[in-house]
């Protein structure tokens, strides 16, 4: 009998596919459902963000940072503003720093909630998605009240923040925090212990510590593999050194570990918000110079600044030539770096694991393509 002849099939996953969360394309070579080779293709959402920056006033670029990782726009606002502030060597009013921390952490929780919901939708459970969005909605309401927008905030400005907290907002935030504590606990009972969920996530998509470091991965992915790096702790920026919180890490490095890290992180963010709401002082919210946007002219020089976004380490490299427009802005986008591991991770997995692994990386295409 002659041997059965089989050949592999090329499967284009994306750019339009429900599990790629945007316009991401995976060129798969599959043998049945078994992936022989995977090649990520990106760039479908490229907008030339970095080049655009060169033609804008310093302040005018802030709205573009909203559209990088649109799930976590507050941190993007912050990293850009703080990089320029470092060039300018400005002191930021205390109250502004607190408002920044509160909004950033609220936004981090919202970002993780979206991840949690959509990830379980990928895995095939529909309900968690709606539970996550219920809680995200309350957070967006709070952010809307302070910044006037639900997702594209442009709330942080060079020199401070745009608006002060409206009356009673802080009390409302504290209430929201309490509510979230209970609701996120509910997530554990709904999903974390589920047999099917555990069977699909434990031992899947294992990333070793070495690989994480060699590929430059960051954020919950790194912490899920036992790399204890969180810039809020290891290189404190803003006023994070004033708060008492932990960095959740897991050793296993599988999809389940990343899941656990993210859920635990939400609780830590709640702790930070609680403390910030109690400590926040009265005072100015933006430096006087920051209000005159035409006059923001950093002295010639360059700066690189990095902070911890919900997806990982986000960095801004800014070069100034002394005019009121940046000479060059370079963005280190965590999703872009994190998604690069995909070609290595997917080899030898099945299509079902692909969805579980890709989802666990938590990439946002606005940030991958910039």
């Amino acid at each position: 009998m002659s041997e059965l002849k089989t050949e592999t099939m090329t499967l284009n996953m994306g750019p339009q596919h429900p599990s790629t969360h945007g316009v991401f394309r995976l060129k798969l070579e599959v043998d049945g459902e078994h992936i022989v080779n995977a090649e990520p293709v990106m760039g479908y959402l490229h907008r030339g963000t970095e080049k655009l920056a060169e033609n804008f006033l310093y302040t005018q670029f802030i709205p573009y940072t909203d559209r990088l990782d649109y799930m976590n726009a507050m941190t993007n606002n912050y990293i850009y503003c703080s990089a320029i502030e470092e060039l300018l060597e400005w002191e930021i009013p205390e109250r502004a720093e607190y408002l920044r921390v509160i909004t950033m952490e609220l936004n981090r929780i919202a970002s993780h909630l979206v991840w949690w919901g959509t990830y379980l939708l990928d895995i095939g459970a529909m309900s968690p998605f709606l539970y996550a969005f219920r809680d995200r909605e309350t957070i967006l309401d709070r952010l809307n009240e302070i910044s006037g927008a639900r997702m594209t905030f442009t709330y942080h400005r060079i020199g401070g923040v745009k608006w002060d907290a409206p009356d009673g907002w802080l009390a409302k935030v504290q209430e929201t925090v309490k509510e979230l504590h209970e609701n996120i606990q509910e997530f554990h009972t709904l999903v974390t212990g589920n047999e099917i969920f555990q069977a699909r996530t434990i031992g899947v998509g294992i990333l070793s510590k070495e690989k994480v470091i060699n590929w430059g991965l960051s954020g919950p992915i790194a912490r899920g593999s036992g790399v204890n790096i969180d810039l809020r702790k290891t290189a404190p920026y803003c006023i994070y050194d004033r708060f008492d919180f932990d960095i959740p890490t897991e050793k296993e490095g599988d999809v389940y570990a990343r899941y656990k890290v993210r859920v635990a992180e939400m609780f830590q963010s709640l702790r930070i918000i609680e403390q910030a709401c109690e400590q926040i002082p009265e005072g100015e919210i933006i430096t006087k110079k920051g209000k005159r946007i035409m006059m923001i002219k950093p002295p010639a020089g360059e700066v690189y600044r990095r902070v911890e976004a919900s997806k990982g380490e986000i960095g801004v490299y800014a070069v100034s030539n002394g005019t009121n427009k940046p000479y060059r802005i370079k963005l280190r986008r965590p999703s872009f770096v994190n998604v690069s591991i995909l070609q290595d991770l997917l080899k030898g997995e099945s299509i079902q694991n692909l969805v579980a692994i890709f989802g666990s990386l938590d990439v946002v295409l606005g940030e991958v393509d910039a």
């Binding site: 099939m9 499967l11 596919h17 429900p18 599990s19 049945g32 459902e33 379980l120 939708l121 990928d122 895995i123 095939g124 459970a125 529909m126 309900s127 709606l130 539970y131 219920r134 709904l190 999903v191 589920n194 099917i196 969920f197 069977a199 699909r200 099945s350 299509i351 079902q352 694991n353 692909l354 969805v355």
Partner: protein, 320 residues
């Protein structure tokens, strides 16, 4: 004369069935809606009662698209072949003592035999679409349906051993005579039947052939308009058939306290059984192919066999 009667009966059942499917879909969407903190359909008619009708109307008015590269004959035939056997099952189902289809001696055998033709429709639909996702979906579907057909049949065997007949009326009659529904003496069989029915129907958490997040809804990706509606119809008809069979086998069919007529009891029990599916769909994530296969072959089939052995021993011991 007989032929005319048969056609009339089929017509009536068909219409009732379409109505049943309409409300089964609405029921599902409402149940899942409430479990997911949302009201479910509520725009068309009071309580959203006309939602499915509106959906079907929309599907009927859509353009009927057959992909250029598709194998046209098979592509057209597949939805029909998926629907026809599911509908044919209703020919023998007894709903009450007086209201039933053909009183067949081998009722169960007929149902289990005819219903397995459904998977041909899945295979043909996936294959002829000439779409890689559809192909993968239908391969998954066939593997799953073949594997889960076995525990489904085996779980029913215990009841047949007890009753000693393949006739559905006899099975309900037996439950009446012993005064207890089979769900209690045949609890193990019920569990096996329940789980394999989910897999057999490709419902969540075993909805792998239709996995939207992976295969973009699998074997019916390329179908649109009424052909798609036919697949949906087939799916829900089969679901109603399976739950009707469960009602007869495990819940004593139309038996119940006399203050309600038998048909109402029958429908209530069916609804309760279907509620179980919907509940699971709202709660559980999707299983993985290999886990699913392992579970079917290594857990469900041995359990079903065990049930047959136990039942036979009891039957002999009771002096059967």
């Amino acid at each position: 004369m007989d032929v005319i009667l048969m056609v009339v009966y089929a017509g009536i059942v068909m219409n009732l069935l379409l109505g049943g499917v309409t409300f089964a879909i609405l029921f599902e969407r409402k149940v899942i809606g409430y479990m997911q903190l949302r009201p479910g359909p509520n725009r068309h008619g009071p309580w959203g009662l006309l939602q499915t009708i509106a959906d079907v109307t929309k599907l009927l008015m859509k353009e009927d698209i057959i992909p250029n590269e598709a194998d046209k004959k098979i592509f057209v035939l597949a939805p029909v072949l998926a629907f026809a056997p599911a509908f044919a099952v209703f020919a023998v189902l007894p709903f009450t003592e007086n209201l039933s289809g053909a009183d067949l001696n081998i009722g169960i055998l007929y149902i289990l035999g005819v219903s397995s033709i459904t998977m041909l429709g899945v295979l043909m639909g996936g294959w002829s679409s000439n779409n890689k996702y559809s192909l993968l979906g239908s391969i998954r579907g066939i593997a799953q349906m073949v594997s889960y057909e076995i525990p489904l049949v085996l779980s029913v065997l215990g009841i047949i051993v007890l009753v000693g007949s393949l006739n559905l009326r006899d099975i309900v009659g037996y439950q009446e005579s012993i005064g207890i529904w089979f769900i209690i003496p045949q609890f193990l069989a019920f569990i096996v039947y329940f789980i394999s029915s989910i897999a057999e129907l490709n419902r969540s958490p075993f909805d792998l052939p239709e996995a939207e997040s992976e295969l973009v809804s699998g074997y019916h990706t390329e179908y649109s308009g009424f052909r798609f509606a036919f697949f949906m119809l087939a799916e829900y008809t089969y679901a109603i058939a399976i739950s009707a069979l469960a009602t007869i086998l495990f819940f004593g069919g139309w038996l119940g306290p006399a203050f309600l007529p038998g048909i109402i009891w029958f429908l209530l029990k069916m609804a309760a059984f279907m509620f179980g599916w919907y509940w699971l769909r709202a709660t559980l994530p999707r299983a993985r192919v290999d886990h699913l296969m392992n579970f079917g072959w290594k857990v469900l089939i041995p359990l079903a066999l065990l049930n047959i052995v136990i039942t036979s021993i009891i039957k002999v011991w009771m002096g059967g």
